[in-house]
Symmetry: C2
Subunit: 410 residues, 2 copies
């Protein structure tokens, strides 16, 4: 019975939480000795904080999932071993089994590559390559298992394309891109205490809420159970990390955690067949990415760090800025900053000599532009609040609105 | 057709070799900057050598295998997708598919944990824990897929036990122990230039030779094909590493490589159903382990490093030593050193005050006890030569001798 599998998964997750909470403080010295630490620049004394704790969370997550592997098949009557022949019955859900293992392979590979990035400090182009590598097993399994690459069309497009369209190779490109996007999106909405874990907790909670709603509606039961099996241990280990990573951070999570979280979301989105809904939950990350594009693609000068500036006297975060002259930018860059200025989406300071000073284009700085200098803890809370609002919006789009655009699948 | 799959695998392996050979020298600075380097103590100028290159080899191996995933099923007529329904045929080899993915999961997990060990410098007890964790997916898949835990009995035992005996849980303990043994056995027969990779190359070559012999005899064709699919890319990437790791080493391989190699061997041994033959190929490692036990379990004092001593003047390696007084040892320790001395397996120097000086108990030092001081390159060659002799012995035991002990399976 599937409810038993979820219950066992919840019990393993609880154990994982307790184990992680005990482990985290004990391993501090090991990380410092291994040169894995950073300075927390937004504190008065700029303390040394051990970095890359995502590797611990990832390990505990993997062990939990390894132990869980046989559970869904032990409690599934379709999978029961034939008592006479000792063989697998014809109803054995082989596809589910291999999906579970392939999903773990992709996640394990991403944790490994994330940790390698933290240690070896890979270059920017690798940030796109690594998640692509890690998604390969998933795509290969999808290819062998289904190779079904048709997508449902919205109502208004059905006259043109029919109910569904086979998009072939582009479906694989889409899946690969989703993994690249999810892993990097969390990694660039980061930098103040607790934000990486905070946003991941809310996304994981949103995915779980969505899975349970769909389960209760009886939609695609297996896919949503599959997602729950990954999200519960992810939520549990992330909660344990949150205890130590929230303001004031005792540990930093590193690229390892961002990659691990992003890949886990991508995996459940792809194999759970709800990648569109998943993207709705990533609204703040999408906005942050779009807002960042002028700097990420160097239309506007991008300093190495775009973190807010810490003011020691007031203990508040202020916007950090970038400086340029309009005539230094190419025409596309000039257009971008003019649009941003007209829409009042950036701070704007024009000096007599033509130098222009604007905030660095990150969602964190944007919050500070709107609300003025705030405390670091408050900045994280505001962004997490925005993440919650996005989830509510996503569920609104997904349920009442989607019915306008898609005919009900029954 | 299975021959096509092997040919494609060989082509991918050749590509992997070329890629690795190009990558290794380029990444040197990245490793040095990340603090991943060691001093080569057996050279005059004690040069700085980048460490943990196993992580690169492991990555290339994983990418090669990820790309290979669909191949065996694309060229297998049993696996051909039904042209009418688009579904999988009943003959689709689901068990082979999930074994391939699970094997990759175990190997990927071990590379990750090995790299974590290199970076974080984990404690001794973890060296036993990590391979156990990494074997979990394999054991879980074995449990779900077969849960067949019967072993064939040798002829002389059949009267007592029957042709085969179900050993239940002990079969899993055996598989877990095999992984723990293989990973650590390579890790402790190490320390002079090229030895880790050299022995792994010969073991991989031996496994491949054995697989092809069995294939030509038509024995358990699928299992041996499975093994070949892993051994070819492993051999190719290791050959590329050997080019830079052999005397004088330009790069060190780290625990990462030893764990990766050991786990890959364990995986093909377990899933290829030739774990007993595999252990025969590990004879030098087994002897090294047995010879080391008095020091590993602290019956005899064990210095932190047991490497041979480098003599700068002659450029030769001499034995390194440990010192103790007989009355400091417990009775079991005294028995061990007496046996070793009587069998002339150690150097023995007794001082007037009762202090005894013997060589450190490693196979490398043993070679130096027997042959006297030799050059580092020669020491590696001698140990690799011994590895080749072990393979010949293993094949002799496996083929002519085994017929005495096991009835022919047809
Ligand atoms: Mg990095
Ligand atoms: Mg180590």
């Amino acid at each position: 019975m599937s409810t038993i599998a979820i219950a066992v998964n919840a019990a393993i997750s609880a154990g994982a939480y307790l184990m992680t909470v005990r482990m985290i403080p004990r391993l501090r010295d090991m990380f410092i000795k291994a040169n894995l630490f950073g300075r927390d620049l937004c504190k008065k004394d700029k303390p040394q904080v051990p970095e890359s704790y995502g590797v611990i969370i990832g390990c505990v997550f993997l062990i939990s999932m390894f132990l869980f592997i046989p559970i869904p098949f032990t409690f599934d009557e379709n999978a029961a071993t034939d008592a006479v022949t000792g063989g697998k019955p014809l109803t054995f859900p082989h596809d589910k089994f291999v999906e579970l293992i392939a999903a773990l392979l992709s996640i394990c590979c991403m944790i490994f590559l994330g940790f390698a990035d933290d240690v070896l400090d890979l270059r920017w182009r690798h940030k796109l390559l690594l998640p692509t590598i890690a998604t390969l097993p998933l795509l290969m399994v999808y290819y062998v298992n289904y190779n079904s690459t048709t997508v449902m069309m919205p109502n208004f497009a059905r006259a043109l394309f029919g109910t569904s369209v086979n998009i072939g190779i582009f479906y694989y490109v889409f899946m690969g891109s989703l993994a690249v996007f999810c892993t990097n999106a969390i990694n660039i909405l980061a930098g103040i205490n607790g934000l990486e874990v905070g946003q991941s907790l809310i996304i994981a909670g949103s995915v779980l809420l969505f899975n349970f709603i769909e389960l209760s509606l009886g939609h695609q039961v297996e896919s949503h159970q599959f997602s729950i099996h990954f999200m519960l241990p992810f939520l549990a280990t992330s909660l344990a990390l949150w205890k130590f990573n929230r303001y004031p951070s005792q540990v930093f999570v590193g690229d390892t955690y961002c990659y691990f979280a992003g890949m886990t979301f991508a995996v459940v989105g792809i194999l759970g067949h709800f990648s569109k809904t998943l993207l709705l939950f990533f609204l703040p990350q999408i906005l942050n990415f779009l807002y960042s594009t002028p700097q990420l693609f160097h239309f506007v000068p991008c300093p190495r760090h775009r973190l807010p500036k810490y003011d020691q006297k007031s203990d508040l975060l202020h916007i950090s800025t970038t400086e340029f002259r309009l005539d230094e930018l190419n025409s596309l860059g000039r257009l971008m900053v003019k649009v941003l200025r007209t829409l009042r989406l950036v701070s704007w300071q024009e000096h007599a000599d033509g130098r222009i000073v604007t905030n660095n284009l990150t969602l964190i700085n944007f919050v500070l532009v709107i609300f003025g200098p705030v405390h670091e803890r408050v900045a994280t809370q505001m962004l997490m609040g925005f993440q919650v609002l996005s989830t509510l919006l996503a569920l609104f789009i997904r349920y009442p609105l989607a019915n306008y655009f898609y005919a009900r699948e029954t």
